[in-house]
Each structure stands twice: as structure tokens, then as C-alpha cells.
Amino acid sequence: MAATLQWSEANGSGEVVTDGISNVNFGDVDGANIVIASYPIIAGENSYEKNIKLKFSGTFTKISNMKFWKSAGALGTGEAIKADEVTTYVQPVKTTSTRAVTAIPTSMSTALVIHSAAGAATITTPGYTRYICLQLQTIGSVSTGDVVEKTLSFQYDEV
């Protein structure tokens, strides 16, 4: 075995955390495990912010060198994804994010450096990373319909 990794998301005013989420779809709702068809994003508007984090459990001594980036999936015209590590949780909004303001990195060399929930570079006991706040933003000229599928990567070293 090794450390077990789960993706988690928090939503609502009370920071309701859902561990082991089944997707990180962007949509017109503050919620985890979104069914896209039920909450489409209107052209020219933004998705609700996504506050995701990684949960480590199981047997390990140290997790370090944590990185997050978009490894595939081209952005269409009028489409942008912003992503930043944030130190605290704030209920997601669909207005243009003031927390996710940086274009999501598209290579490992420029990836977001992710810290433990406490802000350390390493995790030595089971627990979470800090949140990664994401938002899909569009302008009116964006093509309607499904956008190109995106691929996210998370890398870490473990002993």
C-alpha cells in the first residue's frame, strides 16, 4: 500500500466537505458532483467557483513536492480557467472570482505548488492539502455546447 489519495470539494456557507468526489465539473451551481446537463453555464457567464483539495490517508511517512496543473484539453475561444491555491475557505460565487485569478498552469514546470492545510510544504499525518480554487470563465463569443474536455494532474512525492 501507499498513501491513499482522494479528491474532495467544499461547498455552501458552512464549508460542507465531500470526500471522494466523483467529478470536478464546472457548473451554474455551488455543489459537488455536478451533472453538467442540469447546471449549464450560460455563455458570457462564469461557473461557480470550485474549492477542491486532496485528502491523504493510509500509511506514509511524508508527502511533499505537491503540484497541480491542467495537463491536457485546449481552452476554446472565450473560455478561461482560473486557478489558485487559497489559504481559507469562502463560499463559492459565480461572479468573477477574486480568489481564482491566475490562468490555470498547463505544464508541470509551471504547476501550482500545493501546501498542507496548515501551510507546510509537507504532510506527515493523514489530512488535507489547502484548497485549490478554480473557476471557468466565459465571454459572450464562446461557442455553445460542450467544451473540449480538460485533464487535470496532481503530482506528489511520498515515503
Binding site: A2, L5, G20, I21, T151, L152, D157, V159
Partner: protein
């Protein structure tokens, strides 16, 4: 979410002959921290592939890497006296997924090697990167 089995398991051998295996005879998993806590007593540290005849051993007393019991002097520095030899070991995980988690992959790369101080005090490293199949990339620096 990762629950895939590791392809390489480690074992540490101490000066008094004691062995710390990642998985002991009872199947109990031991933390690498137990090795770190006894780093000054470490003699050898090795990885064994769980299904292939592949064993990589670090001789911590001399600073030598053996692959299936053989040293490859074509790339490993054997000329210099190696001081303060320390094992390097970690697993690098890369999890990749599309947004709906239907195409999720989780790769593990194993890094094994050692670092030491040369006679000039400069720190050098020799590290082998392995994938699940045992394919190797060797880094000297």
C-alpha cells in the same frame, strides 16, 4: 483514488543484522520513518520488484548501487572516496483525470539512490528512477 499495489517493496539492513522490511512476515506495513530514525545504523537498503527478478541495492557503507548484485562502473562514480553516504528513496505519484473522473490514471515512479560528500566536500547524487515495469533512468549529478 489510489489503492493500487506497489510494484517494489523496500528492505533496510542494519549494522547488527536486523532487517526492517516494508512488509514484515505478518504482512504488517512499516513506515520508512523507521529507517530514517536508524539512518546511522543502516548498512544496505534495497528494493525488490514483486513479480520480476529485479533487485536494486544501495551499499550505504561504500556508496555503491548494485543492480541484481552487479555494479555498473560505466556510469557510476567509483574513483572517489565517498563520505557521509545517505540513501535517497521516495515514490513519485502522478494522478491524472478528466473532469468527470472517468479517465483516471495513477502512475508511480520509484526513486532510489544515494548522495555523498566527495573529498572536496561537494555533495553528489546517484539516483535511479524506475517505473512499475522496472525500466530505469539513471541520473548522476
Amino acid at each position: 483514488m489510489l489503492n493500487s499495489p506497489l510494484k517494489f517493496h523496500w528492505t533496510a539492513v542494519l549494522k547488527d543484522g536486523t532487517e526492517i522490511a516494508q512488509f514484515d512476515a505478518n504482512g504488517v506495513e512499516h513506515l520508512y520513518k523507521e529507517v530514517l530514525d536508524r539512518a546511522d545504523k543502516l548498512v544496505t537498503f534495497y528494493l525488490v520488484h514483486i513479480t520480476k527478478p529485479l533487485k536494486l541495492t544501495i551499499d550505504v557503507t561504500r556508496g555503491i548501487l548494485f543492480i541484481n548484485g552487479k555494479q555498473d562502473t560505466s556510469w557510476e562514480n567509483v574513483q572517489e572516496i565517498k563520505h557521509n553516504v545517505r540513501v535517497i528513496f521516495f515514490r513519485r505519484h502522478k494522478e491524472t483525470t478528466n473532469l468527470d473522473f472517468k479517465l483516471i490514471t495513477h502512475e508511480i515512479f520509484y526513486f532510489l539512490g544515494y548522495q555523498y560528500n566527495g573529498v572536496n566536500g561537494v555533495n553528489y547524487q546517484t539516483v535511479v528512477q524506475l517505473n512499475d515495469n522496472g525500466d530505469m533512468v539513471i541520473q548522476n549529478g
